[in-house]
Subunit: 205 residues, 2 copies
């Protein structure tokens, strides 16, 4: 009873009622990039917020100005990965020639992973750290992504550009062919273009 001033709205982190500044956005992007590297090398659980902060020249507490909890960091990494992949791939849907279309998809996927290995290493390997809701969201977008490949594969089979078979299985296999690169690709030895060409040549007749 007595004076109950009603909880003054929590003032944790950035105030939510106004637009985030450009600098804030840029800083957050930096943080996400660094988090991807840390989570890749140490794993999500073992990669502490101290690690992320240290790599940025900050203290752990400062991160909570940009993020509410650790898993937000992971979600942001996933968001960036699936967003960049999805937007790029859906601009390729207009290509009509089956051979060209499949080749474009394969090239896209190969270059994507090779360009930002940390981002996709986390995306592929650290899914256990995601929260349930985030996982479902990612799953939906990933299915959209897969669909583009399945459609392209079906067209390619009809055009005898690749041998016949279950399109879903083939699509997943091709995605593996290209995605696996984050495990072995070394930019000092391997050329991204050569890799993309090799992938295309390997499956396209």
């Amino acid at each position: 009873m007595s004076t109950a001033p009603a909880d003054p709205p929590r003032k944790r982190g950035r105030p939510r009622h106004i637009e985030p500044s450009q600098e804030y956005r840029a800083r957050l992007e930096d943080i996400v990039s660094v988090a991807a590297v840390v989570f890749r090398t140490n794993g999500y659980e073992a990669g502490s917020l101290d690690d992320v902060a240290a790599a940025l020249g900050l203290r752990k507490a400062s991160l909570y100005y940009y993020v509410k909890k650790k898993s937000d960091l992971l979600r942001l990494v996933f968001d960036r990965a699936i967003t960049v992949a999805l937007t790029e791939v859906e601009t390729l849907a207009h290509i009509t020639d089956p051979r060209e279309r499949l080749a474009a998809l394969i090239r896209h996927q190969a270059l994507l992973v090779v360009r930002d290995p940390s981002l996709f290493a986390v995306f592929f390997d650290q899914r256990a750290g995601l929260e349930k809701a985030d996982l479902a969201d990612i799953g939906r977008k990933e299915r959209r992504y897969l669909r583009q490949f399945v459609l392209a594969v079906e067209a390619a089979i009809d055009a005898k550009v690749i041998p016949p078979g279950d399109p879903r299985m083939i699509a997943n296999s091709i995605i593996g062919l290209t995605s696996w690169s984050y495990k072995w690709f070394d930019p000092r030895r391997d050329s991204p273009e050569a890799f993309a060409d090799t992938c295309c040549a390997l499956v396209i007749r």
Copy 2:
């Protein structure tokens, strides 16, 4: 000073001075299998020893009769994975026909991963949890494994069974093609044999 009874040699865990019994070995194999499942679903760091023990109907402390520390469990998972893969693959080295040889390797790799997805999911994704020395050991054996593929690819290129290109790059790509299956393969929907055939048909002319 005074009476120093000299630490009576610690008698923690199994006594090392005698042969492990058959039951002991079998039990340990069970533990490793369960650990692989736990580490796959939760990740190595997040997968607690309590989880592993509970899945076995044991208490955490009991695990320390079979293992000295948590990372031993992870090492055992890795050991089993690389051992089974390596021994199988090196029996295939005698096949002389390039097409047959490459096909056999691809089939072997595809079936291997599909048969025990948890084992290889941990092997591929949880390397960050390994200790330095163990990591080096795994790396050596993995290079031996890769060599088999590189040799087979070189022969296949000479025989025009696959298009030309950097053998190491192609070998890694093929390994990705097959290994990726642990991320999407669903035994209730997909057939291991069909998958192996698809992989072969996809790259072999």
